[in-house]
């Protein structure tokens, strides 16, 4: 028997924490095969993965006929948008790349991942074998303009601040102007020519950017002390939340004309947009209200005691904290809204899903459902995952749950 002396630690001595190191086999043993039921679970899971993946991969790479996607790529991306006007969409994308590049340099200089989105992804897209050389050049241009924006921001950080804010605020109207056109400089492109991913994105972006402020106003209205504002907000929120989105879209298409003066017509796409915005705003309001209620009363009191008025208290103290706390929920709702845009296919708009059904009606591609739906599912997934990922980065950057 050894009798070990306990080691004496002097007060100034600081020990480093013990580090755990694993070999690959050690990791496998600890995480996958540590007990007999873990081992069983691991093996069953592996078998299920194999059973699903093997036939799927075999189908994707050997049996699927992807010509349907390649031949209709333009249709999937922009619908019936006139071919000679597509440069306007590229222009809008280039402006976006420039803005993001500039914002990257000024606001998120340490966030390397923005670079991946701005440079690597467009270059990857440019290297796809089946896209037209026109698109290839434009993707390379996109990356180049993004880098140019970034370089400009690094070179003149002070001077570019104001232009950047103008760009960020003005991007949305510029985008709409570019896409729809304005006589006599840009030919008008009616909304029934907008389609595919372009329409899906426009619906989502409009829905997100307008429902967000509207939802905040409704949430504040619901907490208001003015009885009329409060009652209206509650009625609105509860009524909209009690109705499925499809119903609202149908109402906007079929009922709205009944209330409008004869001769006045509102564009189909605009009606769908309005329906989506009004729908999403009610849900947004409830999410924001949850955040508002979580702010302790002491925050209001401290702000009032300093002499801030009700608006200043809300704008500088309460809302920033409330919104920060509900970022995950809000982004979740943005993602849901993005996917819900596919419902406009039911009222006859040719968004990504609507285009899919027209493509499937082409005689030479009859029976290509699997390829087409898998392709658009992939597009939906990529954008949804990107939003979800961006939200996690935003949470880290804002220190949600830490401060």
């Amino acid at each position: 028997m050894m009798n070990r002396e306990p080691k004496q630690y002097s007060s100034g001595e600081v020990l480093a924490p013990p580090t755990e190191r694993y070999t690959i086999l050690g990791w496998l043993h600890k995480n996958l095969f540590s007990t007999w039921y873990y081992t069983l679970l691991t093996l069953v899971t592996l078998y299920i993965l194999y059973a699903i993946l093997k036939p799927s991969l075999i189908w994707i790479f050997t049996q699927a006929q992807w010509e349907v996607v390649v031949a209709n790529l333009r249709l999937f991306m922009v619908g019936q948008y006139p071919k000679d006007q597509i440069f306007r969409i590229w222009l809008a994308l280039d402006l976006l790349a420039f803005t993001v590049g500039l914002a990257w340099a000024l606001f998120l200089p340490k966030e390397r991942r923005v670079g991946a989105v701005l440079v690597i992804i467009p270059l990857l897209l440019a290297s796809l074998p089946f896209i037209s050389s026109y698109s290839r050049i434009n993707w390379i241009l996109f990356a180049a303009i993004g880098v140019a924006g970034w370089a400009l921001g690094r070179w003149q950080p002070k001077k570019m601040r104001r232009p950047l804010i103008v760009l960020m605020l003005g991007y949305f109207p510029i985008l709409i102007l570019l896409i729809s056109g304005f006589e006599p400089i840009l030919k008008l492109v009616k909304t029934n020519y907008w389609g595919g991913l372009l329409l899906t994105m426009l619906l989502a972006v409009v829905g997100i950017t307008l429902s967000f402020p509207l939802g905040i106003l409704l949430a504040l209205g619901r907490q208001s002390e003015l009885p009329i504002v409060k009652t209206f907000s509650i009625l609105y929120i509860e009524m909209v939340r009690g109705v499925p989105l499809v119903t609202i879209l149908f109402m906007a298409q079929l009922m709205l004309p009944l209330f409008l003066p004869p001769g006045m017509k509102i564009d189909n796409v605009l009606r769908a947009m309005a329906g989506m915005v009004l729908f999403a705003a009610a849900y947004m309001a409830e999410n924001v209200r949850g955040g508002l209620q979580a702010i302790p009363k002491g925050q209001h009191e401290a702000a009032w005691a300093l002499g801030l008025n009700g608006f200043q208290t809300m704008f500088y103290i309460i809302l920033p904290q409330a919104l920060r706390n509900v970022i995950p929920v809000i982004v979740g709702q943005f993602i849901a809204l993005f996917k819900d845009t596919s419902l406009v296919a039911i009222v006859g708009l040719l968004d990504l899903l609507g285009i899919a059904s027209t493509v499937l009606a082409q005689p030479e591609f009859i029976g290509r459902q699997r390829e087409v739906y898998l392709f658009i599912a992939l597009i939906y997934w990529v954008f949804s995952y990107a939003m979800s990922y961006a939200s996690r980065r935003l949470e880290v950057a804002l220190g949600v749950g830490e401060r």
């Binding site: 009191e301 005691a305 300093l306 002499g307 801030l308």
Partner: protein, 274 residues
């Protein structure tokens, strides 16, 4: 024999009958109180929390309010900047009567600073932003001036090196000192302290009290709800003992500590002084 229950000499009419300039001149000379509470009552539902509070505080005085929990002392100090509404009686702060008039409330809040038990710093703003927010948006100071003043105040409370940190990164004592600096940045005429050391660990109480003592010695008018009797002994001009919504006894620290008149005061003091 001195009066044990506080009575006030000044009536609300005496202040309100004067023109605004005369009021502030008289307050400045110490002829009229800067804070006057006259027969103040408040109810929470059927519960009568404040039952006829009378108090006058002159410019530069330091007032300590103490008493058992539920005695209405915090509620009273919070009526002075209208975080609580009183339902009867008059409260006149720096010549302005508190009423439902929002302009009066905003005016009084600009002249009174408040320090809370739970600090109530804004967790999403840095220390510097916490302090400069109100001067920039309420007093409309340019940012540079507000930051300069904030830095001086941070030096005064002893933590200039913490300016760019967030409140969550500071200790309780440091947070409370930031809260004091934040209130002082508005250059108030009156400072209200609502149990400023009750939420602090024992070793941090002193650093906050030192700042408050320095502030008292600089001539600030202060109303302090606290059980820190050492602080009261060192700087208070008068002390008020609250119980069940009333002022039971008032007097100088000397009078209260060595010769309390009321049994309730004696009992309470014996409990907190051990």
């Amino acid at each position: 024999m001195r009066e044990t229950v506080a009575k006030v000499k000044t009536t609300p009419e005496q202040i309100l009958s004067l023109s605004e300039e005369d009021r502030s001149a008289a307050i400045e000379r110490g002829e009229l109180p800067i804070v006057l509470a006259h027969e103040v009552h408040k109810w929470y539902g059927n519960f009568h929390v404040l039952r006829g509070i009378n108090m006058e505080v002159y410019k530069g005085e330091v007032i300590v309010i103490f008493g058992p929990s539920g005695s209405g002392k915090s509620t009273f100090i919070r009526t002075i900047n209208r975080l609580e509404e009183h339902q009867k009686g008059h409260i006149i702060v720096d010549g302005t009567e508190l009423s439902r008039d929002v302009r009066n409330i905003e005016k009084i809040r600009m002249e009174t600073g408040m320090v809370f038990q739970q600090f109530n710093l804004f967790p999403h703003l840095t220390v510097m932003q916490n302090i400069t927010l109100a001067p920039i948006h309420v007093r409309k100071w340019p940012k540079e001036k507000a930051e300069e003043v904030a830095m001086q105040l941070l030096k005064r409370v002893g933590i200039p090196e913490q300016a760019d940190k967030y409140p969550g990164q500071l200790s309780g004592g440091q947070q409370q000192r930031v809260a004091i600096a934040r209130a002082l940045a508005m250059q108030p005429k009156i400072m209200l302290f609502d149990e400023p050391t009750s939420a602090l660990d024992p070793e941090m109480i002193k650093e906050v009290l030192d700042v408050m003592i320095e502030l008292a010695e600089s001539g600030m008018t202060m109303l302090v709800v606290t059980h820190e009797m050492g602080f009261a002994r060192a700087v208070a001009n008068r002390m008020y003992f609250f119980d069940q919504g009333q002022i039971v006894e008032s007097g100088t620290p000397e009078e209260i500590f060595s010769d309390p008149k009321e049994d309730r005061t004696k009992l309470f003091l014996s409990q907190i002084l051990h």
